[in-house]
Symmetry: C2
Subunit: 588 residues, 2 copies
């Protein structure tokens, strides 16, 4: 059973994402918190009642391949049809093409819910979101008119075609070919692997966005163009025409997300349409990837939430062993044993911390898009771009850890597939890998988001944290204690940023060897900071007598996070500042 | 492909396990390092050539159940027959019953090799080892004469029957019944679950060791007796008689170790023989469990070694992306990218550190058994018993982490089952659970091994570490740097031990909430200490011009461990000393 955590999400939307600034934007002026509440509660019910029940059966059956066709597990087609009919794909997409135009901060919560319910199912809408993002930004008006409305409704789905057998994470080595035809279309030839929902029968058409090279393109990433390749050609009146020359030759046999078909696609002179300009494909793909990376970060929170709910419910029911404090000789529910409590508390705060971090990032995304002045938009974009690799990297690494702790809470039962905890452990494992591994996120964070502007954006974040520290210092004893931990962590972050800015140019291998520790340090700090902000908001609410149980729990989470998670930053700082020599000299 | 790391093992036997003290024992006076080398190299070849090739196919096929019978995957029967014929089961077992009487320190290395090759296969001999242990200590002469030689040879296999559906980790709730018959045997009735190799056809007979209660037994753990229940009754002449009334009613569908059948056994008035005295079953079972816990710790090292070898080999072959230092614009093998290096280095030192810790513990086991004076034996037993939960807890948690890092090194390929990295990730996950979860190990470490003697054994360990610190301080600059880190970690350990000794009685929930952080801190320290001792031995060898490449690598591992792993102890100390309030007050 899964219950969407809409209350925590709405708390974040109100107190973490900068809601008052968001609804002050003309684009969102029609929305208020009641709308967000209504949407998330209704979607939460849909996810719990329609999508979640297919999670286990989807894992057992898996997507099946036969002669170019993929059959989805029972129930997926119907669930997808309901999903589309109820308009859920369209939540945060532009109203011009039939979307509901909700803020990202609300859309992010919806994405998390769907992924908690069923990560395999949710991957289809997630990839469609990415295609909408890329087309909205770079597509021609004709392309938008032809494809966007159907993608926004979910009637058609989208895919991202980057990876090739010889080029995993390295887009410079992409060598699919695109040859311009007299009618202005391109013939696309090549093999793409790891294409999520590359072939399936839930949607009526699939719009592949494909990276390829024209014959005269320069080498490397500067010679990549982006093409739109529909599975079925679209006639002038919007009806579907012939099948395009793209074939699914197999799907992968994977550790997890087994109901999500991961296709090998063969493009054999398929008809493609250039998106934007030739040789500019990478920048369009980055728009799509950034949206997808953020969404994968949400998947990390989502799988953690699901694993936590399952483990907590088991721990409350499973009666085993008398308590260590001797208060009774009878066996008690294992949730009462101190270490089970520790495991569950860690699962809970990593989940809440990740959710709050994503909500904070989503707020910046809304401002980056619609803030009044270019300066405000630039500032918001810088913050949002700094946070994207943190959401992706930190939340997915934590998703794996939390899913693993969930197995541990179950003891031997956790290793039995029927219990369900093991599925989360298997499903979660792809998250720190796809849409760019944690190392790739870390290189992005260090190179593009920290070094490129000399640490300015990073230091601005540190200054924002200092402001929260000041508020904590003026608060309750608990707030003060959390503030002290936050301050220590923030100073570690600053010392690391300074170190990178002053040394990375001369010793790049040393610097990039510290990139993942930097990402984990920064993700830890930024999550802990959001929970500290939650604590302040919860204390204010408590003072007004509001929602005592929930607000007390938020304070407890912030405190546990500060004492048990934030304390890891010192070791990360030490690895970065003092560990490069031993890293570069160790024999492998 | 798997290559047994016999060189590192022999280094540990010579420099870490206290080899000169061990071969000075009369029991082992016939052995020397050349014998150990010959045995481990030959067994390493056997594991690599005969056992390892069945690991993947065993995972794919799994053990299969049909009407009470279990069929092993193809090749397992033949491999087991070879294993028995070549005498490998008997390596470290008593010569009185046909064993080869090798020291534990050598036997531990062999156990690790076999588990690296194929954990599912290795579980059968591992459980037989436990049965031999219990019978050797507590069995009657008749029982020993009837069963031991066949178990030592491996012709028959052994099992441990503890868990029941209503009693997972809580042996106080065992309620299988044992009713004494007029002929002195007992009728055993009850259901046991999670019985590793509880039913299979590789060995000719299976000797179940079963916990049950006689009708008048006191409640709780003081009323448990241990019984020997053969699958086939054994006639007076040693030949096999009728099948006993114990039936396998199903086997589990598991996340990993799929070729190892995990049985539900139904005892329906089966004939059992009391081992030792009535109501003393728990202490006999503890002997067996301690041997098994140590062996499971070795499984943690073993799966880490296997995952590391696979990831390293992939990283050396996989060419992807130009280096960050701009030294070439060509793509290079990913092992050259700083973060892949970091992942592999961490995998390597956690593996080497765990192996060294286990070798150190095995040395104490040898002394505990055969040292000349009772004082020496007691001291060795206290050290060995202190280290057992560390080997089990720390090495298995690390086994899971290393297997997960192994997936990460492979990128997207790691998520595809055919690559093989995912199997290690699945197989490893049982290790921190069975034979007592990490929390149970931690409670043992804190309660029985630390608090019971007021911290004396723990502080003795700290004093031994100080001696190593003194040697490091007198050594090379690298030795001195490692010594400083070791000293910081040792002091953290001491402060935590003092804290527990002074507070655990009054605030047991707070103390036991810090038990796993204490285990991880102590395991980290003790492993790092062994690698620091390795560094000293390697520097001495280097000074004599011996084996430059290997010894340089050992120094590099110790240094990386000190800079990148030991630095975690401070956060653990902080969780223990300052985190109890937030743990006990957090709302779940």
């Amino acid at each position: 059973m899964f219950i969407a955590p809409s209350k925590d999400m709405l708390f974040n939307i109100e107190h973490i994402s900068g809601w008052s600034d968001i609804v002050a934007l003309p684009a969102y002026s029609a929305f208020d918190l009641e709308d967000a509440t209504a949407v998330l509660e209704e979607f939460g019910r849909f996810c719990a009642e329609v999508i979640a029940p297919l999670n286990v059966s989807g894992d057992i059956t898996g997507a099946r391949y036969d002669k170019g066709r993929v059959t989805m597990p029972d129930g997926f087609d119907d669930a997808y049809t309901s999903f589309v009919e109820m308009g859920w794909q369209s939540l945060h997409h532009p109203e011009d093409y039939g979307g509901q135009g909700l803020p990202r901060s609300v859309g992010a919560a919806a994405t998390e819910m769907l992924n908690s319910a069923n990560m395999s199912f949710a991957l289809c809408p997630l990839l469609t979101d990415g295609a909408i993002e890329a087309l909205s930004k770079a597509g021609s008006d004709t392309q938008k008119d032809t494809y966007l409305a159907k993608l926004v409704s979910g009637e058609w789905s989208g895919t991202m075609n980057l990876t090739e057998p010889q080029a995993g994470s390295d887009l410079a080595r992409v060598n699919s070919k695109a040859v311009r035809q007299n009618d202005g279309t391109y013939q696309i030839t090549g093999t793409k692997i790891f294409i999520t929902y590359g072939e399936h029968d839930m949607s009526k058409n699939t719009i592949h966005l494909v990276l390829a090279r024209t014959p005269d393109a320069p080498a490397g990433v500067k010679g990549i163009s982006l093409f739109l390749v529909p599975k079925f050609m679209v006639n002038g009146d919007g009806s579907l025409g012939n099948r395009n020359a793209v074939t699914c030759v197999s799907i992968e046999h994977k550790l997890g997300v087994k109901a999500s078909p991961t296709a090998v696609l063969e493009f054999e002179g398929a008809t493609g349409f250039l998106i934007g300009d030739e040789n500019s494909g990478l920048s369009y793909m980055f728009d799509m990837m950034n949206a997808a990376r953020f969404a994968v970060g949400l998947q990390g929170v989502a799988i953690a939430e699901r694993a936590y709910q399952q483990a907590l419910s088991f721990a409350k029911e499973r009666v085993q062993s008398a308590p260590v404090d001797g208060s009774t000789r009878d066996a008690v529910a294992i949730v009462n044993h101190p270490d089970v409590r520790r495991l569950l508390a860690r699962m809970q705060v990593l989940t809440e911390g990740g959710r709050a971090l994503a909500a904070y990032a989503a707020g910046w995304q809304d401002l980056a898009r619609y803030a009044a002045s270019p300066e405000q938009r630039d500032e918001a974009a810088a913050a949002s771009e700094f946070l994207t690799p943190l959401v992706k990297g930190y939340c997915t690494e934590n998703g794996v850890e939390v899913a693993s702790l969930g197995v541990q809470v179950h003891g031997g039962m956790g290793f039995i597939e029927e219990t369900g905890a093991a599925q989360h452990y298997r499903d979660a494992r792809i998250l720190p890998i796809y849409e760019g591994t944690t190392a790739i996120q870390a290189n992005d964070l260090l190179g593009r988001k920290t070094l490129r502007d000399g640490g300015v954006t990073a230091m601005k974040m540190a200054n924002r944290i200092k402001e929260t520290e000041r508020q904590l210092a003026a608060g309750s004893p608990v707030a003060q204690a959390v503030g002290i931990r936050l301050s220590v962590a923030r100073k570690a972050f600053q010392s690391v940023v300074k170190h990178f800015v002053s040394t990375a140019k001369d010793t790049p291998n040393a610097a990039y060897g510290g990139a993942v520790p930097y990402l984990m340090l920064a993700g830890n700090l930024m999550s802990g900071w959001q929970l500290a902000r939650s604590l302040l908001a919860a204390e204010t609410a408590l003072a007004a007598g509001k929602d005592v149980e929930f607000m007390t729990a938020k304070i407890g989470s912030a405190r546990f996070y500060a004492d048990h998670v934030l304390c890891d930053v010192d070791a990360q700082r030490s690895r970065i500042l003092e560990g490069a020599d031993s890293l570069l000299s160790v024999a492998l």
